[in-house]
């Protein structure tokens, strides 16, 4: 699955790092590092992290968008 965080919006509240520590970590007191391509099995934790973000900086790609991406016409 794919995740993107708007780090201009992120304020380092770190709710995500508590709820999905395999995908979100802090570097220092407020610098967010995250895995933009975590395993699909982490989806529930990541959805909870995105919902809990006080500034709503986390966007999660919907499964439909991922499926559509796989079927994009190339060439």
């Amino acid at each position: 699955m794919r995740v993107v965080v708007d780090l201009a919006v992120c304020q380092g509240y770190a709710q995500c790092a508590f709820l999905a520590p395999d995908a979100f970590r802090l570097s220092g007191p407020e610098g967010l590092m995250y895995d933009p391509g975590p395993d699909d099995e982490a989806r529930d934790r990541i959805q909870r992290a995105a919902a809990a973000c006080p500034v709503q900086a986390i966007s999660v790609e919907l499964p439909e968008a991922a499926a559509a991406a796989a079927g994009d016409s190339h060439g």
Partner: protein, 458 residues
């Protein structure tokens, strides 16, 4: 009828952050015509900020940086793997490097920037010499770092170079950073903040050499062995990372009649491209790092911004303006914002530091690299702010910048209480450039040197 603004065929040149977000916005706004995205690389759009941070520390593989798709992309035609080689505005066609042509009613230029190459091609070809711009670059450097080199030399102490040095120290690898200017980040944030960044490097064990240039890279059996510096010293190193800033990908537009050159592709405040005569086009739009656009908040000076946020917001404004009724067009006028994480410090900035004369520390403790500071122009108005591990304060300053408010007084205890010169170096004096480049008021200005406000080089 679907919202098309008279366009049936839209072509986006550049398959990175700006290109992807523009495509999503076009479909979200109801554009149902033919939408083609042209990309030089084979890879689908990926995000660059993780490449110099979590990829280099070894946490995630470079392949994880593929960008999440945040909107509908129904029926988008992806033409990946062949770069655009020309724009034929008479025929209204994008010409690809293989000679094929893609017709458009409206086109978005989002070709971004590439790394400024090391000037000696034979030295750049040595095993162990690399840069970080693409996913492949980052995968290669991560592999070199995995092998546990005895020392890495980073050439250029801008944001990317500093992040690379930070990743090396995170792994416990010895690193030498060579910077031609007086301090890391000084071109982007001035010498006062540069001094704080220099301490940050040294406190984290970086061998930082400023006011020095690399005069040569030498190898043995085709492998990098070390770097020779202008002060006569030698740095033995198995890996050299070239972090000399960026070059705008505008060469393909030669002959198009657009005002495109080393400073970028000129555009009006609504992302419409400007031609060499200074006229605004109505079918060619520009977004992302390659754009040089008139900014409503800064006296309509043309700015070039190598910022993630600028690519996202600019792409959405361009997409909107491509297909909306003329009277509904919007300006791309948000305050530039930027962020970097290095040495466990979250650095954020808002506004245009390069317009500043002065800086005042307003919160926290500069000694501990934990502070907020505001930048003022010659008239005493706030034009920018920077925070080190004080990101929550930035929004306050962003609003002051939007209002062109007076430079604020310090709030924290124990701060000097007075502004001091911000000490921006001449842009030619650093390996790294400013990340907000102020390029003057002329829509067709195309000289290669960006001149900071108040320090004319001409």
């Amino acid at each position: 009828m679907a919202n098309t603004g008279g366009a049936e065929r839209i072509v986006i040149v550049g398959a990175s952050l700006a290109g992807l977000r523009a495509a999503e916005a076009l479909r979200q706004h109801g554009f149902s015509g033919t939408l083609t995205i042209i990309g030089e690389e084979d890879a689908p759009p990926y995000d660059r900020p993780p490449l110099s941070k979590q990829v280099l520390t070894g946490w995630i593989p470079a392949g994880h940086a593929e960008l999440a798709r945040l909107g509908p992309l129904d029926g988008v035609r992806w033409q990946l793997g062949t770069p655009a080689a020309g724009l034929d505005r008479d025929a209204k066609e994008v010409v690809l490097a293989d000679g094929s042509r893609v017709p458009y009613d409206k086109v978005l230029i989002a070709t971004g920037v590439r790394n400024r190459p090391w000037p000696q091609a034979d030295e750049a070809a040595l095993d162990g010499v690399c840069g970080v711009r693409t996913q492949a670059d980052a995968a290669r450097l991560a592999g070199l770092l995995d092998a546990g080199p005895r020392r890495v030399v980073v050439i250029g102490a801008g944001f990317t170079g500093s992040e690379i040095a930070s990743a090396c120290r995170h792994r416990g690898i010895d690193v030498t950073v060579v910077e031609r200017g007086e301090a890391p980040l000084a071109a982007a944030l001035g010498g006062v903040v540069g001094d704080i960044a220099a301490r940050l490097h040294r406190d984290n064990g970086v061998d930082l050499r400023c006011d020095v240039t690399v005069t040569g890279l030498h190898g043995s059996g085709g492998r990098l062995a070390g770097a020779a510096l202008s002060d006569g010293s030698e740095v033995p190193a198995e890996v050299a990372v070239i972090a000399l800033g960026a070059v705008r990908n505008t060469e393909w537009l030669a002959g198009s009649g657009l005002a495109a050159g080393p400073l970028g592709v000129s555009a009006d405040a609504g992302c419409r491209a400007i031609d060499v005569g200074g006229l605004v086009t109505d079918d060619v739009f520009v977004a992302g790092d390659v754009a040089r656009f008139a900014h409503a908040l800064f006296g309509y000076q043309y700015l070039a911004l190598e910022h993630w946020e600028n690519a996202v917001v600019g792409a959405r404004v361009a997409a909107h303006n491509m297909i909306c009724p003329t009277a509904r067009r919007r300006p791309h006028a948000c305050v530039p914002t930027f962020w970097s994480v290095q040495f466990d410090v979250n650095i954020k900035s808002a506004g245009v530091p390069a317009l500043a004369e002065e800086i005042i520390m307003t919160h926290g403790s500069p000694e501990d690299a934990s502070f907020a500071a505001a930048y003022g122009d010659a008239d005493g108005r706030i034009v920018a702010a920077v925070t080190f591990n004080h990101g929550r304060y930035l929004d306050y300053y962003r609003r002051l910048i939007e209002q062109a408010a007076p430079l604020p007084d310090p709030v924290g205890e124990g701060l000097p209480g007075k502004p001091e010169p911000a000490r921006f170096p001449h842009p030619a004096g650093s390996y790294h450039g400013p990340s907000v480049i102020v390029t003057g008021h002329s829509p067709t200005e195309m000289t290669a040197v960006a001149v900071p406000a108040g320090r004319s080089a001409r």
